[in-house]
Amino acid sequence: MMTEISFQQEFEIKGGDFVRAGEASCEIKNLLKELGVAMQVVRRAAIVSYEAEMNVIMYAGSGRLDLSVTSDRVQIVVDDRGPGIEDVELAMSEGYSTATPEMRELGFGAGMGLPNIKRNSDIFKIHSKVGRGTRLEMTIRTNGHRL
């Protein structure tokens, strides 16, 4: 079924740009609040967005985040031009991380990113090709019922 898109915006994310890390997600959170999305959904979307944004900044050269909001769902799709993930199943397990000491000094790289994205999404899809990049698709329903 086609759902009418009520709001859509793209955000460019630059790999390695730790100074601006989180700015796109803070903007997304404000946008969703302004759109009148329920607070619990806003929070889940903000966390999903931030984790995905940090992954691009930590591991990829660049990436694009697409936010779309319909009457019944918030969708966040993140495409990066990065190294890709060799073993997606392993990357999805809590505690597994390939973060550098610099990333850990900033408080990231506990191996919680992808599992946390999945936990906060109603639908989560990940496609990754080594040497090409990774695509994450996250959907959060706005009516409060998990899919």
């Binding site: 959170k29 929070r43 946390n116």
Partner: protein
């Protein structure tokens, strides 16, 4: 239940973001330097106790609906970081106490705050 103002007093803390309302309840406390764990486990409206002073702490706190940041060991972030917190209406309290001492003092006055 303690208010943020009472927590500030309990810790002899300095409010680095003057003008932000501290008459809010401090219902839960989460202590960590690991922002990944904050994003994964913190309850909304919790107080975050940390020793990290980067802008990522402010952004993480904002995205995870944290009600206030308590910085331990007398740490003070760069003015730019404090400004960002002020813009986001997020109080930052700096205290000379260690992370353990902060948790111990709050826990003595409000045993239900931890998780």
């Amino acid at each position: 239940m303690l208010t943020l103002k009472e927590v500030q007093s309990l810790l002899s803390g300095e409010l680095l973001t003057p003008g932000i309302n501290l008459e809010k309840e401090c219902s839960k406390v989460f202590a960590s330097d690991m922002m990944s764990d904050v994003l994964a486990f913190i309850d909304p409206e919790s107080v975050l106790v940390t020793g990290l002073i980067t802008s990522h702490v402010v952004r993480t706190a904002c995205l995870a609906d944290v009600s206030a940041i308590i910085l331990v060991q007398g740490k003070r972030p760069e003015p730019m970081v404090v400004d960002e917190a002020r813009v986001r209406n997020l109080p930052i309290i700096s205290t000379a106490c260690s992370m353990f001492e902060v948790c111990a003092r709050i826990s003595r006055s409000h045993p239900e705050a931890g998780r």
